[in-house]
């Protein structure tokens, strides 16, 4: 058997790959956005001194992190119609599932960022008369985010790779584009080979950008 790479062409990109790539990207960005927002609240809830807030938050986070993503994708897609009586579609289902799933991971990253800050920062902010909400908003969260940005972005890259799991519910993502093209051209091996190279290139470039960021976001070696 030999590889036939003749179908590698611009029309392959425009006819099959572009649409899938846009969805993968949209899914990643949506899940990143909602994951950060919900994740921040989950992290704060988990750090709350009130156990009736922190325990449920911990339960949600731990459950999400213990369940395989593909299972969650399937469950959500299959169970929601049972409750609301109609399907919400593969794409919307994926947006919601990924957002919830990512918020659990982001919550833990953000929590570690908050906890890594010296306690004195909170005290100093409180001593100036800032309310608890202001302490979080102006002093703690900006520092926690800055510290965790490299880890958050690494998670985003993983998320981009994981977006291919929507194959389970038949959504048209980047990988699906390769798969369909492979079938149509009768060249599945070559198509998957190109998929591997494409995903690798994409994620490799992104992780180099993260590396670069990592060295920039530190506070120029501020006191430990």
């Amino acid at each position: 058997m030999s590889l036939d790479l003749h179908f590698y062409s611009w029309s392959l990109v425009t006819d099959y790959l572009f649409r899938g790539f846009v969805f993968s990207l949209k899914l990643t960005l949506t899940a990143t956005f909602f994951g950060t927002v919900i994740g921040t609240f989950l992290a704060l809830a988990r750090l709350s001194k009130k156990t009736y807030i922190s325990h449920p938050a911990a339960a949600v986070i731990n459950t999400m992190r213990a369940v395989p993503l593909v299972m969650l994708i399937l469950w959500f897609y299959l169970l929601v119609p049972l409750f609301i009586g109609r399907s919400i579609g593969a794409e919307l289902s994926a947006y919601i599932t990924f957002s919830i799933f990512e918020s659990a991971f982001f919550a833990e990253i953000i929590r570690s960022g908050i906890q890594s800050l010296p306690r004195g920062q909170t005290q100093a902010a409180q001593a100036l008369g800032l309310s608890n909400a202001q302490v979080l908003r102006y002093v703690i969260l900006p520092q926690a985010f800055r510290q965790t940005i490299p880890i958050l972005l690494t998670q985003v890259i993983v998320l981009f790779q994981d977006s291919s799991l929507v194959y389970a519910i038949g959504a048209y993502d980047w990988l699906k584009g390769f798969e369909i093209a492979g079938k149509n051209y009768g060249r599945p091996v070559e198509a998957y080979l190109l998929a591997a190279i494409s995903y690798f290139t994409m994620c490799f470039i992104l992780s180099r950008i993260v590396q670069e960021l990592k060295s920039r976001v530190s506070f120029n070696g501020s006191e430990a």
């Binding site: 004195g120 100093a124 902010a125 001593a127 100036l128 008369g129 202001q134 520092q143 506070f219 501020s222």
Partner: protein, 244 residues
């Protein structure tokens, strides 16, 4: 102006403060000293409720700090505090460190806040560094900025929690100079410090604590001059500190 009455606090069964009673008048400069773990820092942090207490009363002016109905953020806004590790906000420039609480807590405009910030930066000799970030400053410079940050809030009293303990020896002087100037201008100050030279020259009262209790509370003149009248523990502490 500050009244502390029978204040006690414990972590579990371990007592940190044992029925401490003292008062501080307007313009007083009080040095609190004692061995580490004696509750000095805890005591001054009870004054702005950074450390909650279990029994007793604390009054700052007419404000009952021990009362759970008191608006603590309002109180804190006018009680300046300087920490051992400076605790400037590393993500904000020097000027933003000074203006944040003025704007968010006192409701000043950004212009007003900057003007006042600059005034106090000049007072502590740091005006030239207003656009820098804390990590670009030496420890002594950071601590002077921290003092300016507290002064911007028009505090009625300044609390210093070992302000020079984390500094290299050559930077201690610049911070003590700022504190000395403040004291001479009539600021009410409570300082937890091991700087006995500062205590002797600048303070008018010394409180000595050991194991969570106030052992000595007397004029600094008496504290240093009439050591024969001091408790054995205070004498022991002084002997250890002054012999170096």
């Amino acid at each position: 102006m500050i009244k502390i009455k029978d204040v006690s606090k414990s972590y579990g069964s371990f007592p940190v403060l044992k029925s401490c009673t003292t008062s501080v008048g307007k313009g007083d400069v009080v040095v609190i000293c004692g061995p580490s773990g004696s509750g000095k820092s805890t005591l001054i942090k009870t004054i702005n409720a950074l450390e909650p207490i279990q029994s007793g009363e604390i009054w700052v002016g007419d404000t009952p700090v021990h009362d759970t109905r008191t608006d603590i953020t309002k109180l804190r806004a006018h009680v300046g505090m300087v920490f051992q590790n400076f605790e400037l906000f590393p993500h904000l420039s020097v000027m933003d460190n000074l203006t944040l609480a003025q704007i968010k807590v006192l409701g000043r405009t950004s212009d007003e806040a900057s003007k006042r910030g600059l005034k106090y930066l000049e007072r502590v000799g740091m005006a030239a560094h207003q656009h820098k970030f804390p990590s670009q400053l030496s420890g002594g410079q950071q601590q002077r900025v921290a003092i300016a940050r507290a002064l911007c809030m028009d505090p009625v009293v300044m609390l210093f929690d070992e302000p020079t303990s984390a500094l290299d020896p050559e930077m201690v002087g610049e911070v003590l100079d700022v504190m000395t100037t403040l004291a001479s201008e009539g600021m009410t100050m409570l300082c937890v410090t091991h700087e006995m030279g500062f205590a002797r020259r600048v303070s008018n009262r010394v409180i000595f604590m050991d194991h969570g209790a106030i052992i000595e509370d007397c004029s600094s003149k008496d504290f240093f001059a009439k050591s024969e009248e001091r408790s054995p523990r205070a004498r022991d502490f002084l002997a250890k500190i002054l012999s170096h």
